[in-house]
Symmetry: C2
Subunit: 425 residues, 2 copies
């Protein structure tokens, strides 16, 4: 029987029991942080070897470029090759950047604001009266924050399990003020969903009123599988080229969760025209990115197969954590009708949905008990989840015992808050 089907007396009885458990946990004075999607120490250790001097032998790239000196704005050839294999593009469709793909996205939008997109007849976006931007939800708070700070009007579009609601998007893009959208095509943060090829084709081919409509496609988890290997997926740049809209998308990726977050290498991909556009402004902004780190990465990871072999080691470490969360949620909450959760094949998150109006209360309740989850609402534009239902669970960082304890506490909190909500009604 679901909680909704139970009578008030039964619910009150359960509530009392759950509060007993809750208070026991509270007395333990725990302090767990479940907020960030960070790799754990064991994962980081997988790449320690990369810092060996042997990977820098000679300090020259295969095209004989000195990596210790200025120059080579678009990246050394072996790094371009590595990242283009990872992201499924040509080596003339990529620029290898510094330690942050998020920074590349920020820079790109700033470029659009100050200089435009390079599309004929279109103004710099800062000269437009209003810019509207599509945000598939639930999504990544740092994406939403960038577009919010730039003054865009953010429009939430629900993700449906295989990508966003395309009817809604196709309707929205009839408005010329709608200039683009965020997109995490594979193992999306936090839902873990993989965009279907059909939806990717629709996004690539749909008519948009804005000629300079741009998809900022953050392929952050493209090789971050948990089970058999990365999901096969139509490449977004390829789809845009096929649809005759080659300049519609910029594709981003990084090794942040392959090697070291904050000390990886990033990349931005686009049509050859878009890459020329990008370089013409990048050359004003900086002299070059860190080529020593590019060389280190290219030699340590080798090629696509090297990346996949490395990601398999990550999966071996973190899959048990994802399974532990699923096991506890199933044991404690299945069939009660008070929580749904995702069972992703990759990425860094489990996305849970409480009864409407309960997410903030659950997070607050858990915090009181010493367990910090990502604030409810964070996965929505302006940090406002209209349903107050979604919470992002990041299982990778904590040790498994800590994770299990935190999820057990979460379950108690979900039960308590759900019952309190049902009793209110």
């Amino acid at each position: 029987m679901t909680y909704k089907e139970l009578d008030r007396e039964t619910l009150k009885k359960i509530l009392k029991e759950e509060y007993k458990k809750y208070n026991n946990y509270k007395n333990l004075e725990l302090s767990y942080d479940m907020t960030r999607g960070k790799p754990c120490k064991l994962q980081l250790d997988l790449s320690n070897e990369m810092e060996s001097r042997k990977y820098l032998q000679g300090f020259h790239s295969i095209s004989d470029q000195e990596v210790r000196n200025y120059g080579v704005l678009d990246g050394i050839p072996e790094a371009k090759k590595l990242m283009s294999e990872m992201l499924g593009v040509g080596t003339d469709e990529i620029v290898v950047g510094g330690n942050s793909s998020l920074n590349l996205m920020y820079d790109m939008l700033v470029r659009f604001m100050l200089f435009g997109t390079g599309t004929e007849g279109c103004k710099p976006w800062s000269k437009e009266e209003k810019i509207k931007w599509i945000c598939p939800v639930p999504g990544y708070d740092r994406h939403f924050l960038i577009t919010e700070k730039l003054g865009f009007e953010l429009i939430a579009v629900p993700l449906l399990g295989d990508g966003p609601d395309m009817d809604m998007i196709k309707d929205l893009v009839k408005d010329p003020a709608v200039k683009g959208m965020w997109m995490i095509p594979k193992y999306s943060n936090p839902t873990g969903e993989v965009y279907s090829d059909a939806k990717i084709r629709e996004l690539a081919s749909m008519e948009t009123a804005a000629n300079d409509f741009r998809i900022l496609c953050d392929d952050a988890y493209t090789v971050h599988f948990l089970r058999k290997g990365p999901a096969k997926q139509l490449n977004v740049l390829e789809a845009c080229k096929e649809a005759g809209n080659p300049d519609r998308v910029f594709l981003f990726g990084s090794t942040s969760k392959v090697t070291f977050p904050g000390a990886g290498i990033s990349a931005v991909c686009g049509s050859e025209k878009n890459i020329r556009f990008l370089l013409s402004y990048l050359t004003v902004q900086t002299i070059c990115y860190d080529k020593i780190n590019q060389l280190r990465h290219a030699r340590f990871l080798g090629d696509y197969n090297g990346i996949i072999a490395h990601m398999k080691k990550h999966a071996e470490i973190i899959l048990p954590k994802f399974e532990a969360v699923d096991k506890i949620l199933t044991r404690e909450l299945e069939g009660l009708g008070i929580l749904s959760w995702t069972k992703p094949d990759g990425g860094y998150f489990i996305s849970i949905n409480t009864l409407p109006g309960c997410a903030s209360a659950v997070v607050a309740k858990a915090k009181e008990c010493g367990v910090k989850f990502t604030p409810a609402g964070s996965t929505f534009p302006y940090k406002k989840d209209p349903q107050d239902s979604n919470i992002r669970i990041a299982p990778t960082l904590p040790p498994i015992q800590e994770l299990e304890a935190a999820i057990k506490i979460l379950c108690v909190c979900v039960k308590i808050c759900s019952i309190e909500k049902l009793l209110e009604a």
Copy 2:
């Protein structure tokens, strides 16, 4: 006797002789590149040891921060300490960045454009009708390029050997559209001059019509001495605080020419209010800079004394090159009244001035002979030297024999072009 004092016949005779030399050089089919202020291989080798794993032992900063994972936007404490000692500021007045201080400057101006400076009552600069910007000349082309691309009107102000023409600057800043200036306070690129403390005080204390007037102070060569040690100089941030204008300046620096250009660490300094302003936007732009590289640098260089000891080794390698250039210029051209040149105590350049109207011709003539110098005009806004007189010589990169050959050819070209100019008159 100077060339101007010689009669036409004598000049023609000299011209004929110099053309003979010129053609001999031309027949050698040389290919020398003197364009970029890059360290040479021997200089780069001084820092190879930094890439040893021993400097990363433990992968944690002194405040126990994991350097391999996300976080710590403002830099790890030991990197902040190192860079604040180098730049003469407090550890609460600094943010340690990535591999490029030029990128930090670009970002700062972009921030001013889109969001303003944080000064009460002032608009984002993109909302202003016109932004004017003071450019001390000759100066650094990459500075001028940034402000040009952002659409600022660039105003050249001559450097006088101890900093810019302050009368001119004090007059210019009466215009509220004049929002700031570039500044390389020590061993300026390319003149090598050191701003006097008096001029620094004037810049810090002068009244400006714009409340959000900002000095972008690129202290790129602060420890880059050639002889006895770095010149003592009043710290610009200190001067601004003393003058009651603490927010007037942002101070930039990097280890690009200490360790590896393109793979060093950078820093931006400012008043505590300015640092808060900066971090409030930086947190939208990126998650963190490369802390592994910060740790590597902090442990390899150690402290200020470690930096100075390291820079002494650089000086030992490059001082002979500066002296070789000076020796040849003196031997070939002293007393002829056709070329003046600087004798810097630090930095990366020798700045030469030909007779008015000769610089482009000299560079073209040398190029024809297989020696590439930085294009004439590059040291001025919009690449236009109104006198067509200044050329930047970068002695550090080429091997000394190559450098000497290039400078001998330069001397022949200067003689030829000067005589041709004098004969025109």
